[in-house]
Point group: C2
Chain length 191, copies 2
């Protein structure tokens, strides 16, 4: 998605350790118009799929997910990162290890909001090692929901998340695919 | 906002202790069309104000805030709930006490994204004791930004948040105003 690549070149900040910060328009400040364009692009890519629900995880996944939900006219569910209390009966849970923060978090979704009747599009802001997406797919498995695919805003193609998802046979669509960082510059995967 | 009141009556769940759960369309599953209507309503209410930025807090504030940002064509900034690390120089912070969870959290906003040049609309999903909104207003004060007002999706009018905000002289617009809960039913403030 050209518009997104241009925005990453313009406003993305490359930090040591192959870290890309896009706080200017996605992860802290959000550009609603760009998010709407992203929602339209996800809707276009998955227009043949009978999607009934979009699943993401708080907090940065919400903005692109809700715009896709607006365009596709389906509800959005965001998995919560806090551990469900013992009082919360009826939740799907998955463990998500964060390589950057070196901690394991439990994400959860109320069973009311995902079932075997659903056809799910999983959306997240970033794909690096793929742990968050794997957690969301695990929750879909527990719900016995169909998964039409995974939509990612920014993919770091050189990390293992891409192959993890493809090995599980799930369709992956990433709107910006980063091949490498060279001298603080972003190089995108050539189409 | 009639549409929102109807939705609260239909899908809201009243729990003991004056707790209203709207997980069906706002706090866990989100209805993007309803959020878009909410965004339009905030835009209508504040159309005379020269707003340059919307400020909210993760995670449940993001959906209504981003739709208001889409309609009003301004960026949205969400305050983060995690404590900024000592490495994060240049952040505004405020302490927010949660009466339901009985913990104090630090919320923070990168100074890059809010300044004295901004005219801010603060948006949040719920207003009860007003601590989150007070924290967001404190961050605006630190940034020396103008505040045009506070937009709330669901206000519990019988708790102290309303008077806290009004005493500080800030305009408050709530789309649904709950007067009380009676036998598990929601009673709205009569207009």
């Amino acid at each position: 998605m050209k518009l997104l690549e241009e925005r990453i070149r313009q406003d993305g900040v490359v930090l040591p350790g192959n870290v890309l910060k896009v706080n200017q328009f996605l992860n802290h400040q959000i550009d609603p118009q760009l998010m709407y364009e992203i929602g339209q692009e996800f809707a276009r890519l998955f227009k043949e799929s009978p999607i009934t629900k979009i699943l993401t995880v708080e907090a940065s996944g919400i903005a692109p997910a809700i715009m896709a939900g607006l365009v596709m006219n389906v509800p959005v569910v965001f998995a919560r990162k806090k551990k469900p209390s013992t009082l919360d009966a009826g939740v799907y849970t998955a463990e998500v290890y964060s390589y950057t923060k070196k901690v394991t978090n439990t994400i959860s979704v109320d069973q009311k909001f995902l079932s075997a009747k659903d056809n799910v599009l999983v959306i997240d802001d970033f794909l690096a090692n793929g742990q968050a997406v794997q957690g969301l797919l695990e929750i879909c498995r527990q719900a016995q929901a169909e998964v039409s695919g995974v939509g990612i805003v920014v993919e770091k193609s050189f990390q293992k998340g891409v192959s993890l998802i493809k090995e599980s046979g799930v369709r992956l669509e990433s709107l910006a695919r980063i091949a490498s960082f060279e001298n603080g510059e972003v190089r995108f995967v050539e189409e």
